[in-house]
Symmetry: C2
Subunit: 171 residues, 2 copies
């Protein structure tokens, strides 16, 4: 399977993975959320090759996650800032960080702490139901096919009307 087919699948997870599901994009976005904006800044703090960084930035701009904005003329230089679509990735970033905080820390403890400006406390993110406000767990959730689903399987990976896909449609 290729990246470009991934982004067309009838699955919101697959489509998002097409945007951020590679080794570098999330790390670049981490830097964005830490107020880094420039090519050199990304490159030096991540140690990513310049070639790949250029590619990834282009991709994130193409998907509308970042915007490329000139910050000086002659020589023309650009910086990358998060769009609203990019800012909306924050819950993903935070839940990833939180999982790492719980499951991937060594004896030295957390590499960083988060403080909520509104209430002043150090916090962890908690995912709750938009309707009742209770914390969510996988077992308390039912999935249903939505209007954008493909026939039988709600999150099936391929188009059933694709003749090439017949080996995958399975039993």
């Amino acid at each position: 399977m290729k990246w470009d087919t991934l982004e067309e699948e009838p699955c919101s997870l697959a489509r998002t993975v097409a945007v951020i599901g590679d080794r570098w994009s999330l790390l670049i976005l981490r830097e964005c959320f830490l107020r880094k904006r420039r090519f050199e800044a990304f490159q030096s703090s991540l140690g990513i090759t310049r070639h790949l960084l250029a590619e990834r930035l282009k991709k994130l701009v193409r998907f509308g996650v970042l915007r490329r904005i000139p910050y000086q003329e002659s020589p023309k230089r650009y910086e990358y800032i998060l769009t609203q679509k990019g800012l909306d990735l924050y819950p993903i970033i935070m839940s990833i960080v939180h999982w790492g905080n719980i499951h991937m820390v060594d004896s030295r403890g957390r590499p960083m702490l988060h403080q909520h400006k509104n209430c002043g406390h150090m916090f962890d993110p908690v995912m709750v139901c938009s309707e009742c406000g209770e914390p969510l767990s996988a077992k308390a959730v039912h999935v249903h096919p939505g209007p954008g689903a493909r026939q039988t399987s709600p999150v099936h990976a391929m188009a059933a009307d694709d003749p090439k896909a017949k080996t995958k449609t399975g039993t």
Copy 2:
């Protein structure tokens, strides 16, 4: 940078990316959360090559996200189930799905809907502060170096005491 150095970095995001930050792991985990457990089931619904699937399953088992359990003797067959560590990935999965629901849907609408068994409603996940319960946004959060941080930069990608890293320590 290699995957194995990624998992040792003083950053919870980088460490988590070392586990789930590739093209396939999140899709495999999606299937796990949809109660798929077997090699053939993963392979046929994802269209992943058998080779890579075997690799990814090994990796997820190695990281303690899945457990490989025999479900029959002779011939010995195994299935893969989520550990608690794996179940804890649920907020990551849900926030990824939610972002896709908001930003990657076509005119047909969402591929799937989520119902909260506790309250009965279709819902969206919301990320809130563990201390005050308010929804979180990037701008309302301050980051601080924690006990597991490396000197100057709280989320810096490499060890400053690593002589090879000097080109990256930058200006």
